[in-house]
Symmetry: C2
Subunit: 249 residues, 2 copies
Amino acid sequence: MKNFKLTIRYDGTRYNGWQHQKNTKDTIQGKLETLLMRMTNKTEDEPITVIGAGRTDAGVSAIAMTANVYLDTTFSEQEIKEYMNKYLPDDISIDDVKRVDKRFHSRFNATGKTYRYTLWCGDTKPVFDRKYVYVLEKMPDIESIKAAAEMLIGTNDYKSFCGNKKMKKSTVRTVDSIKIFQKDSYIIMEFHGDGFLQNMIRILVGTLLDVGYGKKKPEEMKNIIDAKDRQEAGPTAPSNGLCLVEVDY
Amino acid sequence: MKNFKLTIRYDGTRYNGWQHQKNTKDTIQGKLETLLMRMTNKTEDEPITVIGAGRTDAGVSAIAMTANVYLDTTFSEQEIKEYMNKYLPDDISIDDVKRVDKRFHSRFNATGKTYRYTLWCGDTKPVFDRKYVYVLEKMPDIESIKAAAEMLIGTNDYKSFCGNKKMKKSTVRTVDSIKIFQKDSYIIMEFHGDGFLQNMIRILVGTLLDVGYGKKKPEEMKNIIDAKDRQEAGPTAPSNGLCLVEVDY
């Protein structure tokens, strides 16, 4: 068995997220696994597992998700890439296939991740990227969002920003940076950290928007973190504005 | 009645083109007219006509189509824009509304148009703009395409490049420039001229691709023009790669 690292670009709009689920194969992972089983002539009894660097929610897209998979194949890296791109749907692309060490694990070896959240506010409409932006009715105050973002970085227990109420593992994470850019009608929020909890970015965005609309003050961010209570943070922003940009190794 | 100039951005993917048709209101023009009748409380007996600068085919998009329309309204330019953007579908945006002279006619006063055709060729897939590019299996030769493009510009009878076999009016047009850019996996063809015949850009693209694949030689272009015969030119490239970029006045 050879271990391959895949770099995957996908439009998550019509999928139930990355992760394989019991009731549906309509996940990115499901599409990849089904195809790789066909490629290597495996039956249902010999399932193939594509191990993703993370689990993107339903509707979230990725420019460069990474994954690894053990395959019993004589195909070269390029042949695997060509085969997969030929048979995968138009909204999933394999941008790179690389043979890696047997011990490489896409999730355990990942040292950092970059996510981008795209907001849009204007008196026209984002026609061509409408599926990948969260359209705001009113322009939030960017300076207070930037001030609040500064207070949200660091190594903290982000339990208040965790969408999984039953989370039993540690909710401590390190968020290195939250960059806020404004260009024309777009507001881009770019998050870098060692890893993120379920819905964490979307809750951070919802909280920052609360600040931008004056519902919360930047200096309240520390209290929200300290509360370790999901109720203290803002709402979960919609999934479609979110995109996994890069995974560091 | 006041005359307003509209600048419209649309994703043409799911429409039967710009122009109002007997059997369907599923055209950009149809959507605009229906909405403007509602806005001005008009009945079916008092139809409103939105006059477009040109007629884009089914599936063709626009960054800045222009049109003019006579309206019996007290709404300001900004109010019309806001009303229209509120009620139009997500894939149509009114980017500008401007009150213009009563004599302004979006088609007759237009002095030039820019169209862009986007091609894509690579061993990955254009996931996020897949609906707006024509994906090629094999990379064509760009230098011969550029050479052929040079021979297609000028003031000529472009009958060989006209998709309307029953065209009775003049098929003489001036094509000022055809620019060919290559960036990563994209090949962009940008056409500027005083006006274009039905399907003309798509047939020009199909013909240039024939050159790129060695089926035709650049120096044959003059013969194709001289033939005034649709059969001599290349195939009609798919509509989805085409976008109206700008209308000059």
